[in-house]
Symmetry: C2
Subunit: 159 residues, 2 copies
Amino acid sequence: MRKTLVVTLATVAISVAALAGADGHADPKQIEAAVKARQAHMQLYSFHLATLGGMAKGEIAYDAEAAGSAADALVSLVQLPQGGYWLPGSDNASIENTRALPAIWAADSKVGEAAGAMVEAAMAMQAAAGTDLAALQGAIGAVGEACGGCHKPYRASAN
Amino acid sequence: MRKTLVVTLATVAISVAALAGADGHADPKQIEAAVKARQAHMQLYSFHLATLGGMAKGEIAYDAEAAGSAADALVSLVQLPQGGYWLPGSDNASIENTRALPAIWAADSKVGEAAGAMVEAAMAMQAAAGTDLAALQGAIGAVGEACGGCHKPYRASAN
């Protein structure tokens, strides 16, 4: 299953590359919808990571069922088709209201690898989260690193 | 698999009921996060339904791969754990910025059944979308009805 997901994410990367190779002029409404969708997707990561991160830090009482559910959600989210979110022309040099850097669409973009790392981290969290708090805590670092693996190189700072 | 999903959604309904039976006073920040998450989830439905609906109406050229991907996304979305979105006290009589009616949390709430209908419709769409345009068109009505199955009884009008 892990291999299937990594292949899925590689396909996403290929789709992004293919879109970037097209004429590069999506309809502004399509661009807006794509940006809203990817931000909604990030919102859902944030929602479930708040549960897992809160438990890891001891700010929320550990609950195996809730932790497992949040980790299941992460895995479902990484599996969700995402190629349509990343239309060429939806970078922060082209439009407002996004922090997505043009480097995402560059020929040497490593977004596919970064997405693959997120799949791996989410699946490791899924295996760990429902076991016990120590297992969850052992898996949370890799999830945070996987978030940063895209955000650091490919997202503009908030300020 | 279909049965599993229906059971999953029934579990969501039970979770909502269980939450409603608790003290009913979630933290305002938790409420806000939950509302944002469910609205993000709806945004993602909207994004993928725009593809499927656009193709069904002939506004977007039918593309088997894109249709299949959008339908896969719908199925992933209906499978996503959603119990945490529906905190008691997050209805439109209690807070701003939501159209969720208190009836969702009522003892006679039928949200579990409505969610089950959405699962069924999404899975039927997944089986149809990549086949051909006629199959997609045959499946889109049930998806729209399933959306309405929750929105009509449980969402306030936009005006």
